[in-house]
């Protein structure tokens, strides 16, 4: 029986099927780039047909058939054009009845695709785009819109990414265990970047954009299902959930940023927090502790505090110290300094920041000035704090962040003029 699904349902079904269909088609035709294009065309055909004609009895088989036909037609016309036989044409298997491959399922397909799309030959923006299309089942138009670039540009980015993979000669199969372990951080990094792109840009102006945060969570869920024993995959999923839980509280009615200590914690998503904490606790019990688990643990400590003043800062400080050992970076040092300031006072935090002044990766980064301003304010040195808030505002490339930092500077300056003029943070 055919049933008619509303568009959102069709979309969800198609996105779920995309990597499975692609896996089957690639294995048959042995050309990842061409198969990926054919699957995209099949998906677009389904998008237009299914909502009107109903979902076929075997949607996966339908998509495989359509994609395979496109590829077969393409190969045939190629042969006709060249007027000569090719190895592919002689390969009877290529033209085997498609119903054979409809049931050719490999549960590892999604995993193979995830690794392929974060191939070291790709830039991060290409890896992100290709992951969203090949594994996420999104259309080029949707991805282009999410990144605010023309569709033609995004199409080229994806096709170049596929060309790089082709040139690298990577076969379509599961990597050996050792190599998989080596490459997993790159896969997780791509998923993390997709999440961050969505979370950090979830401002009102971009409401029409695709929800990359949800997509990243969905993809990480599939990675978790395929690698159930990997503590870092679980850690990453947990970190995403624990961060996303605060989304509604993160911006005010005028889209102004609200820092963690000022957020209305009743707006936090309890279900996401519970799931995140459970995943994180389970992951930590597995032994090897990685950077995502530690970041998830830090997020969990924040999420568990009913009020900002209840935050267990000594615990956060200890976690940042572990994070500094496991995965040192200037950003970690910066966050460590904040935690140290909350536990041992702002002077301690400011002292730790000094090591970053000579670090070229961060010396001119707005975050360093923003944190320094915050700690100077804690110390009571409002004049210096204002100066650093302003420097940070001049260096950030995020409009909401710039507005927030300018407002912080204005608040401090007005406050020092006299209590009568003290106002709250303006919204724009």
């Amino acid at each position: 029986m055919k049933e008619t699904l509303p568009d959102a349902e069709t979309e969800r079904l198609l996105r779920e099927l995309a990597p499975q269909v692609l896996g089957a088609v690639v294995r048959r035709f042995r050309d990842f780039a061409a198969a990926e294009d054919a699957v995209q065309e099949a998906m677009l055909a389904a998008f237009t047909q299914w909502p009107h004609e109903g979902v076929p009895d075997n949607p996966r088989g339908w998509l495989i058939r359509v994609a395979s036909r496109r590829l077969t037609d393409q190969i045939r016309s190629e042969i006709a054009r060249r007027e000569r036989e090719t190895a592919v044409a002689r390969d009877a298997e290529t033209f085997a009845p498609v119903h054979d491959i409809e049931y050719d399922m490999d549960p590892n397909d999604t995993l193979i695709l995830l690794f392929m799309c974060s191939h070291p030959a790709l830039s991060s923006s290409s890896a992100i785009a290709l992951t969203l299309r090949a594994v996420g089942g999104l259309t080029t138009a949707e991805i282009a819109k999410a990144f605010l670039v023309p569709e033609a540009t995004m199409a080229q980015r994806i096709s170049r990414a596929k060309q790089s993979i082709k040139d690298s000669g990577a076969p379509f199969c599961l990597l050996p265990l050792e190599e998989r372990a080596e490459r997993l951080p790159a896969v997780l990094h791509v998923l993390y970047l997709i999440f961050n792109e969505g979370y950090a840009s979830s401002m009102g102006a971009h409401l029409q954009r695709l929800d990359l945060t949800r997509e990243a969570i969905r993809l990480t869920r599939s990675a978790k299902a395929l690698l159930p024993d990997d503590a870092e995959v679980a850690g990453l999923l947990s970190l995403m959930l624990l961060t996303d839980a605060r989304r509604a509280a993160r911006t005010g009615p005028d889209e102004e940023l609200i820092p963690l200590d000022k957020q209305d914690r009743t707006l936090w998503d309890r279900a996401e927090i519970e799931e995140g904490i459970e995943l994180m606790t389970d992951a930590l019990s597995k032994g090897s502790v990685g950077m995502y688990q530690l970041q998830a643990a830090i997020a969990a400590v924040h999420d568990e505090a009913a009020r900002a003043e209840d935050t267990d800062w000594p615990q956060i400080l200890a976690l940042y110290e572990s994070l500094k050992r496991v995965s040192p970076s200037p950003m970690v040092t910066l966050n460590h300094a904040i935690a140290a300031a909350m536990v041992d006072g702002p002077s301690k935090g400011l002292e730790l920041l000094k090591t970053l002044d000579v670090d070229s990766r961060l010396a001119e980064h707005h975050r360093l000035d923003a944190v320094r301003a915050h700690l100077l304010e804690m110390l009571g040195d409002h004049v210096s704090a204002v100066k650093h808030y302003r420097t940070a505002a001049g260096r950030t490339t995020s409009i909401p962040e710039r507005n927030y930092l300018i407002a912080q500077a204005a608040r401090l300056e007005e406050g020092s003029r006299g209590p009568d003029e003290k106002t709250n943070v303006p919204s724009s």
Binding site: S125, A200, S201, I338, T397, E401
Partner: protein, 131 residues
Amino acid sequence: MKYILMMNIPKAGYGAFGAWTQKDIVANLAFVKGMNKTLSESGEFVAAEGLALPDQARVVRAGKDGVPITDGVFPEAKEFLAGYLIVDVESTERAYKIAAIWSAAPGPGALPLNMPIEVRQVMSGKADELP
């Protein structure tokens, strides 16, 4: 990271453009078209526009009740925006490299113009979690 590349042309240069030969103009336009095509193929192109000559440009200010008051372009202005290009690139260095390519667009006699290109980052950065 998105960058806007702005080509500013000295006022004198605008007049000189009219004196170019047909061949030079065609070569210059073909160069820009080719550059944009290459950027599209590399997955970096976002937008590009060329602006009309400043002869008819007006400066507008809101007068009483928001009525537009137009004025001619300030005679003391030394240069004008001739066009812009927005790219989405992996690094600042890459944006500079594209700017240098554009700067060397051919002018009279197919010689590179070496026009100054102002490179500014577009406010498309992400808002981090704040302390």
